[in-house]
């Protein structure tokens, strides 16, 4: 027998009470895991942004197109290492509610600009560049719809129609793209701009936006000003921003998700702090006499303090770790659900680590008051006469 056994036996003495507390801790940590994962996934684009990347959009709004001529002029500017252009396709699969994030891109330059973001097998890369109707699909999207390389898929647009009147473009999946870090979401598809531009009924020779890598992040500001000055007072003025700033503004359109997440997690933790903290106080108060006996038997005050902190800590871990497991399961099932809102939801190792740190903090906080009162307890008072 050792202290761990004592702690375990203390938790077992009122199994129902311990179980109930563990359940409430479990729920708080499950909420924590899912919500923080959600918040991270919403801000993932911002975190994944490359430091040396700029985004050039129409100054009126990024939904307004740019003439394709802008692209070649931007490419030629000194300080631009690589550039590519992208166009929003407005995709869905079979039914409008199955939204797909699809962009039309220029294959070679796209793969160059995003070489550090995405991982792609050389044969898939070659197949994508070679075949005009080829498409690349991100891992998350492929998982969600069960697609694999070689599949032929009709991708519909809720904006564009083909000259032949069809809304659907048939594409062949050339390969699956993986993100190089967990922050990089892969719920997307890219297809050839040339294929899209030639077949669409309207909007020809326009592009959505330009993405470029600069020779160094230090030239970002100067380059952005140069680009915007180049098109100033033209019919299509540009707004050039770092990818990070652009993505942040994009994410902020939904509202302050981080604040909502912090508030809810705060509420959940405040709840269990109250419940578990007070229950621990009560549980230890009920044990006053036993603590006196332990002291009589030669258990030091520090040892008693450790035993009670150990108990609240063990309870926090007993509830928190399965809670984290539940969060991971929930994250997987939400990612597979039809809502594209959760498509990048992952419980990353750093979230799990934060949660474990919180469990320790939580265990110590809830155990502190009862542990201190046990620490101070006078044997004579605790034994009393009964």
């Amino acid at each position: 027998m050792n202290d761990l056994v004592l702690i375990r036996q203390n938790l077992r003495r009122q199994k129902l009470r311990s179980a109930l507390m563990a359940v409430s801790i479990l729920i708080a940590f499950a909420i924590f895991g899912v919500l923080v994962g959600f918040e991270r996934s919403m801000n993932a684009r911002e975190q994944a942004a490359a430091a040396d990347r700029l985004v050039v959009v129409n100054k009126i709004n990024f939904t307004q197109p740019l003439p394709i001529a802008h692209y070649s002029r931007v490419r030629a500017i000194e300080g631009v290492r690589q550039a590519t252009h992208l166009s929003w396709f407005g995709g869905y699969y079979q039914e409008p509610k199955n939204t797909l994030i699809v962009t039309a891109v220029e294959p070679e330059t796209y793969l160059e600009v995003y070489a550090n973001d995405y991982d792609l097998r050389p044969d898939a890369r070659a197949a994508f560049v070679r075949e005009r109707t080829a498409a690349l699909v991100g891992e998350t999207m492929a998982e969600k719809w069960g697609w694999k390389a070689g599949d032929r898929i009709p991708v519909s647009s809720d904006i564009y129609v083909q000259k032949n009147g069809s809304r659907a473009w048939d594409v062949t999946i050339a390969g699956i793209v993986r993100g190089r870090t967990p922050h990089i979401g892969t719920n997307f598809m890219v297809l050839h701009y040339a294929y899209f531009d030639e077949t669409r009924l309207f909007g020809k020779d326009t592009i959505g936006w330009i993405a470029l890598n600069t020779v160094s992040p230090s030239v970002n500001d100067r380059l952005a000003k140069t680009i915007d000055r180049m098109f100033a007072n033209s019919a299509n003025e540009t707004a050039t921003d770092s990818e990070k700033a652009f993505n942040r503004a994009f994410g902020a359109q939904l509202g302050n998700i981080s604040l909502v997440v912090v508030l809810i997690i705060g509420a959940a933790f405040a709840t269990i702090l109250m419940i578990v903290g007070n229950t621990m106080v009560m549980a230890v108060r009920e044990r006053t006499r036993e603590i006196g006996v332990l002291k009589t038997l030669g258990f030091s005050r520090v040892r008693i303090l450790r035993l009670i902190l150990g108990e609240s800590l063990m309870l926090a871990l007993l509830g928190g770790l399965p809670g984290l497991g539940l969060a991971a399961l929930t994250a997987v099932s939400l990612r597979m659900s039809s809502s594209s809102l959760f498509s990048a939801l992952v419980l990353t190792p750093d979230i799990a680590l934060t949660a474990v740190v919180l469990m320790f903090a939580f265990g110590l906080v809830t155990g502190l008051a009862p542990a201190l009162s046990a620490f101070r307890l006078k044997i004579v008072t605790s034994l009393g006469r009964s």
Binding site: M1, N2, N10, L297, S300
Partner: protein, 229 residues
């Protein structure tokens, strides 16, 4: 002549505050108990019996005076030194056994051994269980045992760390006559065969007869009637 006194109280004073009133329990109490003695302490309620035990066990402190036990001045020890000393030199036996309900008999007995380094914990537990004749119940929880059995476990817990002094607070107060006699025989055996010095507080004269001598405590003073020991 070697001084074989185990317990010596010199000029011990102890007062309690009860509301605005100060109650004096002991005023310059003197006591001396030789090693190997078995003393029963009797007296009416409030005479200071339990306070005496608490002072001897170092779980309460005197307001003044000296308490020497086994050559150590207990009242001068710091809180943590006192805790260590208690774990090594004193065994407690209570009226209501005070076993940990969530631990088995063997685990309860093992508890004092957890407060110090040392091997062979299991062997010590087995030995203690044999002394109290409970080897077959070591896996049982307190709620599965009779009062007498629980008190035997408590006795085993008190002797497992091989202390010199056993302090018993009404050890038979919650037991029927026959069971009480069994428990007292165990205590006598500990005193006679293992040489434990025992101080037992009781208000049961029949229990006190098992001791070598009886001290009567009244209003914080001893009246030694039985000088035969």
């Amino acid at each position: 002549m070697p001084d074989n006194t185990l317990v010596r109280l010199i000029d011990v004073c102890k007062r309690f505050n009860k509301g605005s009133e100060t109650i004096t329990i002991f005023d310059r109490l003197e006591l001396s108990i030789p090693a190997g003695d078995f003393v029963a302490v009797m007296g009416p309620s409030g005479s200071g019996k339990t306070t005496l035990l608490n002072l001897l066990g170092g779980i309460d402190r005197a307001d003044s005076g000296e308490i020497h036990i086994g050559g150590i001045r207990v009242d001068a020890l710091s809180e943590s030194a006192l805790t260590r000393w208690r774990g090594a030199h004193v065994g407690f036996i209570f009226q209501f056994y005070n076993l940990m309900p969530m631990l088995t008999a063997a685990q309860n007995i093992e508890l004092p051994l957890l407060t110090r380094p040392g091997k062979d914990r299991r062997r010590h537990v087995e030995t203690a269980l044999k002394v109290v004749e409970l080897a077959d119940r070591k896996k049982h929880y307190p709620r599965e045992m009779s009062g007498g059995q629980q008190q035997r476990v408590a006795i085993a817990r008190a002797i497992v760390s091989n202390p010199d002094l056993l302090l018993c607070d009404e050890p038979t107060g919650d037991l029927d006559r026959a069971t009480a006699d069994e428990i007292l025989s165990v205590l006598r055996l500990l005193n006679r065969d293992l040489g434990k010095t025992i101080v037992m507080v009781t208000h049961d004269a029949a229990a006190a007869r098992h001791a070598r001598r009886t001290l009567h405590l009244d209003k914080g003073r001893f009246i030694e009637r039985d000088l035969a020991a």
